[in-house]
């Protein structure tokens, strides 16, 4: 399984945290739409995330377009777990730097 990018990990984390809609993901991660959406498309094609339309009812009633929401697949969860572990390791490296800052 290919390693996901940092931004990709952010996106997966957002979805795991419950932010399912595209714009919410962008809000949470702080990524621009030009970055986030391509990631979403890629990951969907790779099978890490799955997308579906929200229920029909509310959108029709309100006369607005439906929203599409994203979920993590098993693979996606796996990939996220791996990324988190990696991040933790990286954090240890930076923790010292960060710690010096703080202590400073």
């Amino acid at each position: 399984m290919a390693r996901i990018t940092h931004n990709g990990a952010l996106v997966l984390r957002a979805i795991a945290a419950g932010y399912r809609y595209g714009f919410e993901i962008m809000d949470f991660t702080g990524l621009a739409s030009g970055t986030a959406y391509p990631i979403l498309r890629r990951y969907e094609a790779a099978g890490l995330v799955e997308s579906s339309w929200e229920e029909d009812g509310p959108a029709d009633r309100e006369g607005r377009p439906r929203r599409r929401y994203y979920q993590l697949s098993d693979q996606g969860r796996e990939a996220l777990g791996e990324a988190v572990a990696r991040l933790r390791a990286q954090q240890r490296v930076f923790a010292e730097a960060l710690g010096e800052d703080h202590s400073g």
């Binding site: 595209g22 714009f23 959406y37 377009p65 929203r67 599409r68």
Partner: protein, 880 residues
């Protein structure tokens, strides 16, 4: 939308941006993608988010759409190559078969053309392979050599080799692993209801180590059988075993009576057994010791096998030394040389050249056939451009299209190959019947190398014929839109198809010139005057059994009696006997003693015949002086009749009558009593040799076989003659040799064979080339129907249309004709050895063939031209 107007505006702007960006996506995905973005945007605007910020965010739809677009194209390209790589060969072939079945006319034409082109090649290659290329079926055959005696100053040879030479080689040669010989054993099968003459051979012991024999029944000769005191044994041939002994297994041990003597049958030769260069009804072991061999006056066909490392040149030197010693010792005349040759080469004789040329000829036919198939495929290709375009639009790559076309031509080749093998099988059988005297013909068959060759040809056809159209179709993009309703394009067949036609015509011309030369030569050969009258004089062979007529005196008496009896038959104008008849095979030569020979001649060898009175009259040979009479017999003055060639050599400018000469046989003086016109004794194309005729009754020696010629009225049959002879000599084997005319015809059999074959190939080439021209031109006309219709509607003359079309078709033919003539001129020298009476640049042939070809080509162009002239402009324009 709830919320401030600015949001509504913002939403409108962002939404249209999304709508624009959506254009980048394929139709199928557009709606969903648009909705997804618009869904988010609506949500964002209606929640009262920053308008500017959200609009900015909406700009992200562009890279999103772009990324999707790029990824999709990449994936499609991947799937394209993915499909091509997955071997769809089976599908291609299945599709090809369906397609070919749907156009039976095209398929039949292509398959027939291929069957013809490949089939004749297979047949001829099987001959070339088994006769020329394959080594002889004997162990160490590449080291086997044959010896022959030659009289170089007279161009005679190869003749049989003396026993002394054979003995010398057997005992003293250090270069030969084994050497052996055989000679003729023409004996009569006696002791049976219908005695007949058989052609056997008697062999020396080493024969079996050079030519191992696997007997069909019984055993081969062993050492003991060759001893002088051994019981006479015989190995009989398969045909003799079947015919005379009914093919029964208990034949072994039975007795066979030959010339009145009993021989014990020890074995049956395998079916189709042949000695190198000869057939044998039976084999006898030579029961003679070395000493007797050396001193004998016998002659043998000698062959042997060199030791490893020994060369032909070394053996030639050794043989030369022995022969020189023999000449010095007076055992041979000074002009008698013994040459050695590779056995295979000797057996081939002069058939190598003609066979290679025949092979070249069929190769030409093959190329023309391939060209026709290529043209057929090219023509079909134009109609299939639409199909090709559709395929290309659906994602088929260039490689895929090429493979499809190759699959089609592969299927055609496979079917053509199968048909070709059938044709080849039949052709080989026919060849064997037409020309049974070809060396090693019994070995010719459809063996593995031949089958592999056929397969190779079929594959070559697949590529040659299939690749050209395949490459043509994938050149450049084929836009769907440019195909008209008929599915045809403005034809770019332009130059390729006519060029192929020109090449076909050039090749056909080469073959036609070759056939023309052979035909002219054959006509000359047939009209050669043989020197005797080719009437319907009947020829017979009469055996004189030694056991019934043991003394020469009684043999002569028998001969005289037969002549008298047959001459007296009603309907017989004249009858004669002689030891040999012209062109009927056999030869006899004698050396002339030098003492009376004019000095410039050196040692001379003349052909010699022993004849009864009436010989010249029966055969219609012009005679000056007078014929022999009954008085010319043993004891009376020795007389001789010479032929004009001998007379011109011996007594140039003088009257030969009354002159004298001596032969080497016994030095007796002979007086010339007559001069006969020279006869082509050995062959119509062969030079005439100086010939001597002696009275048979004066001959004195034992005679065991005579030939008889009977000139009679139309009603006379061979049976009449046969029963007449049997009244005088009841137990004498009589063999009918046919008429003198049929004997002469038989000598023409090889040239006729060559002529028939080359003629057939040339005719095939001509037809194929003509069909090719017709096909391409007809196709071009059918494509240009609309254009012709327009021209006619505009008032063009039908005659001009016809002329235009014919010109279009004739131009490549003319170009091919010129090219072919030039090539023929250069190549015709190769035929020189086969031609009789004409030169390789025979003007008649070089004028006639182009004329014939021009006529055929013109006709091939006329038919499509006529169709063009008949185009109905209204219908043609409507169809477009």
């Amino acid at each position: 939308m709830k919320g401030p107007n600015s949001n509504r505006l913002g939403y409108a702007v962002a939404s249209s941006l999304v709508g624009l960006a959506a254009r980048l996506l394929p139709q199928a995905r557009r709606a969903d993608w648009r909705e997804e973005w618009r869904g988010e945007l609506w949500h964002a605007f209606s929640r009262g988010r920053s308008t500017a910020g959200t609009v900015l965010r909406s700009l992200g739809c562009l890279p999103d759409a772009w990324a999707i677009h790029r990824r999709r194209r990449f994936r499609v390209r991947q799937s394209r190559t993915h499909i091509s790589r997955r071997g769809h060969m089976l599908e291609d072939i299945r599709f090809a078969v369906r397609l070919l079945v749907k156009s039976p006319g095209f398929t039949a034409a292509a398959v027939l053309t291929l069957a013809l082109g490949i089939g004749v090649n297979t047949a001829i290659f099987s001959v070339v392979h088994h006769v020329l290329l394959a080594p002889l079926p004997y162990p160490g055959s590449e080291r086997m050599v044959a010896l022959g005696t030659y009289m170089e100053n007279q161009g005679i040879g190869p003749m049989m080799v003396s026993g002394g030479m054979l003995a010398e080689l057997r005992e003293h040669s250090s270069l030969l692993e084994a050497v052996t010989g055989y000679d003729y054993a023409e004996m009569d099968l006696t002791g049976v209801a219908e005695p007949r003459s058989l052609n056997g051979k008697s062999i020396f012991p080493e024969f079996l180590s050079l030519v191992p024999i696997e007997p069909h029944l019984g055993r081969v000769f062993e050492e003991g059988d060759f001893r002088a005191e051994a019981e006479p044994s015989v190995m009989i041939g398969y045909a003799l075993w079947q015919g005379q002994l009914g093919g029964r297994r208990d034949a072994i041990g039975k007795q066979l009576e030959l010339n009145g003597d009993a021989y014990s049958i020890i074995g049956v030769l395998p079916r189709g057994f042949r000695l190198p260069g000869a057939e044998a009804d039976f084999l006898l072991p030579k029961r003679t010791s070395s000493v007797r061999l050396r001193e004998s006056r016998g002659f043998y066909w000698v062959f042997g096998r060199l030791k490893e490392g020994a060369t032909l040149e070394q053996l030639a030197q050794e043989v030369d030394r022995y022969q020189q010693a023999r000449i010095d010792a007076g055992q041979d005349g000074p002009n008698f040389r013994v040459h050695v040759a590779d056995l295979h080469e000797r057996l081939l004789g002069s058939t190598r050249r003609p066979l290679m040329m025949l092979w070249g000829a069929v190769g030409v036919v093959f190329l023309i056939a391939c060209a026709n198939v290529a043209n057929l495929l090219l023509s079909r290709l134009v109609r299939r451009k639409r199909e090709a375009a559709v395929r290309a639009a659906l994602g088929a790559g260039r490689g895929r299209l090429i493979r499809q076309f190759l699959a089609e031509s592969a299927v055609l080749s496979a079917v053509g190959c199968a048909a070709a093998l059938l044709l080849a099988f039949g052709s080989i059988a026919l060849l064997k019947k037409l020309e049974p005297s070809l060396p090693r013909l019994d070995e010719v068959r459809l063996s593995l190398p031949v089958l592999l060759f056929t397969l190779g040809l079929a594959m070559a056809t697949t590529f040659l014929a299939g690749l050209i159209p395949a490459l043509r179709t994938s050149e450049g993009g084929v836009a769907l839109a440019s195909c008209s309703r008929q599915g045809t394009l403005q034809v770019r067949q332009g130059r390729l198809q006519p060029a192929i036609n020109a090449a076909q015509v050039a090749l056909a011309v080469i073959l036609l010139i070759g056939a023309g030369l052979l035909l002219h030569s054959f006509v000359r050969l047939v009209s050669v005057a043989p020197g005797f009258e080719v009437r319907s004089a009947m020829a017979f062979g009469v055996g004189i059994p030694h056991y019934r007529y043991p003394e020469p005196r009684r043999q002569m008496a028998l001969i005289e009696g037969i002549q008298e009896r047959v001459s007296g038959l009603p309907g017989v104008r004249s009858a004669t006997l002689a030891d040999l008849l012209p062109l009927a095979g056999g030869w006899s030569r004698i050396g002339i003693k030098e003492d009376l020979t004019p000095e410039h001649l050196g040692a001379l060898v003349a052909s010699v015949q022993s004849v009864m009175p009436g010989y010249f009259r029966t055969l219609g040979i012009a005679l000056k002086g007078h014929d022999f009479s009954e008085q010319d017999r043993t004891g009376s003055e020795r007389v001789v009749i010479v032929d004009s060639k001998f007379a011109d050599l011996f007594w140039p400018g003088q009257d030969p009558l009354g002159q004298s000469m001596r032969t080497k046989r016994d030095g007796t003086l002979f007086r010339v009593v007559g001069v006969a016109e020279s006869v082509r004794f050995y062959g119509l194309a062969q030079d005439m040799e100086p010939t001597l005729y002696f009275p048979l009754l004066q001959d004195g020696g034992p005679i065991s076989f005579v030939r008889m010629a009977v000139a009679g009225d139309a009603g006379l049959t061979a049976e009449d003659v046969r029963s007449a002879i049997q009244q005088v000599a009841p137990d004498v084997p009589i063999q009918s040799l046919g008429t003198m005319r049929s004997i002469v015809q038989a000598t023409l059999s090889r040239p006729r064979f060559n002529l028939i074959l080359v003629g057939f190939f040339a005719a095939t080439a001509l037809i194929l080339a003509a069909v090719g021209i017709f096909g391409v031109l007809a196709h071009s006309v059918s494509l240009r129907t609309a254009e012709i219709g327009v021209r006619m509607a505009l008032g063009a003359d039908t005659r001009r249309i016809l002329a235009g079309v014919m010109r279009q078709g004739f131009l490549p033919a003319a170009a091919g004709l010129l090219l072919g003539l030039a090539a023929s001129f250069a190549l015709s020298g190769l035929l020189a050895g086969q031609l009789f009476g004409i030169s390789p640049s025979d003007p008649l042939t070089f004028l006639a063939i182009p004329g014939i070809l021009a006529l055929v080509a013109a006709f091939a162009c006329y038919l499509p031209g006529r169709r063009a002239a008949r185009v109905d402009p209204v219908r043609a324009l409507r169809a477009e």
